[in-house]
């Protein structure tokens, strides 16, 4: 009991007496803990963040009814259920109508809100008001084939409809040659029900595969296909960025660890005289090692506490700055950071102590 008290007393004294030295060691441990925390937090969040960036590419799974038929009534809710809450889905119904200039044009019935969420890459100058059931979006190419753009008259199977063009859409794809209108008005006019559901499943290729398998089970007879270039490209890029980040984390962690090790062991080496004195006063090798170790561990613990806070803040700032979404502190990285720093601290304490073991206290104290 008394021995432990003495040990703690020595520890306290040693840390306080050489304040500058303790402080620099503490800062070293803090930086190493902060760097490890920041990188690990970012690394843990990386895949989710990258997958989110890929949402901009729109649908990666397309569900199509066989030619000439339409999807079941509850298809959209089935799809949403199978794909999970974070997936975006939108229905499309298509028909070929004739414009007032007699040109055939593809007209699509859609839910504007759902499509806007799914296809963020559409450049639309003005999205229609959701309450306006006769609002239409004109593809920029399609608009050239319409005589009166304010009152767009379309004919399908001898039935006319007049739409207000709310805005233009420009994508550089097939959308440019189409006219989009609200689904309800479209179905009332043409009698055609949705035949295509486009689905954006965020996440890895494995998750997309799982969703597709489930969709095939839940909606038999429908064709479920992945937009291959998107799924392949996404997983490839996410994997590679992940690997790159992994390399960076290892590299930086190694640099910091070795430097901290160097700083700490130098500070232990410098205390050869203390070591010699304590040994001369009857301290055993084990006791002395314990003192050094305890000191280093105390510094490491304090460093981890401060470094975790600083590192989490850094990770948050980096995510906010780069991805515009916050990376919240993760408790799960703490054990790893703790382990890393304790390992560095123990090594820093024990390596020089081994060097000192062979020294003769008398020779050292005499200054030989």
């Amino acid at each position: 009991m008394t021995s432990r008290l003495t040990l703690l007393g020595i520890l306290r004294r040693s840390l306080l007496h050489r304040r500058a030295r303790s402080l620099s060691a503490l800062v070293a441990m803090t930086v190493s803990a902060a760097v490890a925390t920041a990188l690990l937090t970012l690394y843990a969040d990386l895949d989710a963040k990258l997958h989110k960036e890929f949402r901009g590419f729109g649908a990666n799974v397309v569900l199509t009814a066989p030619t000439g038929s339409s999807l079941p009534e509850d298809a959209l809710s089935t799809v949403q259920q199978a794909a999970g809450k974070d997936a975006a889905a939108a229905e499309f119904a298509y028909a070929v109508a004739t414009t007032d200039t007699g040109t055939p044009v593809v007209v699509a019935g859609i839910d504007f809100a759902a499509v806007r969420r799914l296809d963020s890459w559409w450049q639309v100058d003005h999205w229609p008001n959701p309450s306006d059931s006769n609002a239409a979006l004109l593809g920029q190419r399609a608009a050239n084939f319409i005589g009166n753009e304010h009152q767009v008259t379309l004919t399908y199977a001898a039935r006319n409809i007049t739409l207000n063009a709310a805005g233009r859409i420009q994508t550089g794809g097939d959308e440019d040659s189409r006219i989009y209108m609200p689904l309800d008005a479209f179905t009332a006019w043409t009698g055609v029900k949705p035949s295509v559901i486009e689905l954006q499943v965020p996440g890895s290729a494995a998750r997309i595969d799982k969703v597709m398998t489930r969709l095939r089970q839940d909606l038999p007879g429908m064709k479920v296909s992945a937009v291959r270039q998107l799924v392949e490209g996404e997983s490839k890029i996410v994997d590679r960025t992940h690997a790159l980040m992994y390399g960076a984390v290892l590299l930086i962690a190694l640099t910091v660890a070795v430097s901290v090790l160097a700083t700490l062991s130098a500070s232990v080496l410098e205390r050869r005289r203390d070591f010699a004195l304590m040994k001369a006063l009857g301290g055993s090798q084990g006791q002395l090692m314990r003192i050094f170790l305890l000191e280093a561990v105390a510094l490491a613990l304090a460093g981890v506490a401060a470094g975790y806070v600083a590192g989490s803040a850094a990770a948050w700032a980096i995510s906010e700055g780069n991805f515009h979404t916050a990376s919240l502190p993760r408790l799960s990285v703490l054990p790893l950071v703790l382990l890393l720093n304790l390992a560095i601290a123990s090594l820093a304490a024990l390596l020089p102590a081994r060097v000192l073991r062979g020294l003769q206290p008398a020779a050292l104290l005499k200054g030989e």
Partner: protein, 465 residues
Amino acid sequence: MFFRLLLESFRRQRRRKLLAGIAILLGTTAVTAMLALATTIGDRIHKELAVYGANIVVYPKADLLDVKIGGVDVKPASGGAYLKESDLDKLKTIFWANNITGVSPEFRMAGMMLVRNTTTGGPFDPRVIWHWNDPRMTGFGAFPVTAVGYWFQHRFGTLVTGAPQLHPWWQLQGRWPVERGITPTHGESAQEIVLGAALAKRLGLHIGDWISMGNEFEGDVVGIVTTGDVTEQQILYPLDATYGILPVGTDGKPVDEAPIDISRVDISARTKPEDAFARVNPDTLSPQKREIWYCRPYANSIAYQIREAIPGAQAEQVRRVEQSEGNVLSRISGLMWLISAAALLAAGFAVSAAMATAILERRGEIGLMRSLGASKGSIALLFYAETGLLAIFAGALGYLLGSGLAAWLGARIFAGDGGAAEAILIPVLLPVVVALALVVAIAGSTPSIRAALKMDPSAILRADA
């Protein structure tokens, strides 16, 4: 005397120098590797993003409206306007011509028909595919098939490009056609072709089979392609064979479109991610601003230059690819830069801490020199010179190690992309990295040197005795 001191210090205190040297070496290695990766990541990710296909599409301006649903032509357009294959050469003359990395023109013949002999009522003959306009078609039942002419390994300036390059997600069984006539065994002219997987399955055709198309044209199947879209239902043939496929009227001339016309061109170009300035209409800008807009490799300005170069062409950026590509690109390179900054910070700290320790250990030496009459200035100079030498030496070594590490990491991570394995030796980084090492090392040792110089030499010597 000064140089002898300097030299002796390096000769005698190897352990201390080694410690500080290793810190600098590791720091500069990490920083060089991260910076080298960060500067090249844009190109690498762009190469990866090439799987999304073209980011600029060119089509004839006066074309009829596409009536396509899910990629399938609902109403085959006949006639219409086309671009000339010879017009594509003008792409090489635009301002950003060197940024064009792939060109794939296509000629879509939606009017091909799989022929059934109605008199016998027999099944479709998978071998006979004629154009709907062909005079021989009368009296035959038919099933529509789309044939699309593409470039395959086509030489375009210094590029070798074509459909496979612009559609990297296509999976081919067999090989791509060679763009030249082959010796016919069943028709008057022959050409290698590729079938979409779904079509090949429906027709029961395999690699090595042949079909008869149009004007006594023989297509030898050399490959079957899986694409995940409507191309699986199509026949892919080399663009310059179009003439042989088009039907010939009684006057001996092709009855439909003139040969080697192009209904669409996919272009992949290296572009700068779009910002607010990229979206403005160049015609509303002042001449100076317009010049700046014109000379930036935005997808919009490249499309604008293509419209200028090819009369009758409409060029558009493919927003689905271009918009998101820019985002992903800037996020990933942004991440790399931030990580590099973190590496810089960590390395800077580590180096300055190691330097501070190295000086602190040598207080005794400073005390001795001071008591022997050396001025504060000359002692500081000696220590700074030592630090500087160490920083330059270890920094240069770290630069080499870091460059090697970056090349190794890059090659491992981005393996198999062609050209990814090139060494990353960025000369600009050398002075930057060495200067950084110098600044950090000197900044790190300054407080310790100052503190040691401030102390009374006798106190230092007594404490050390």
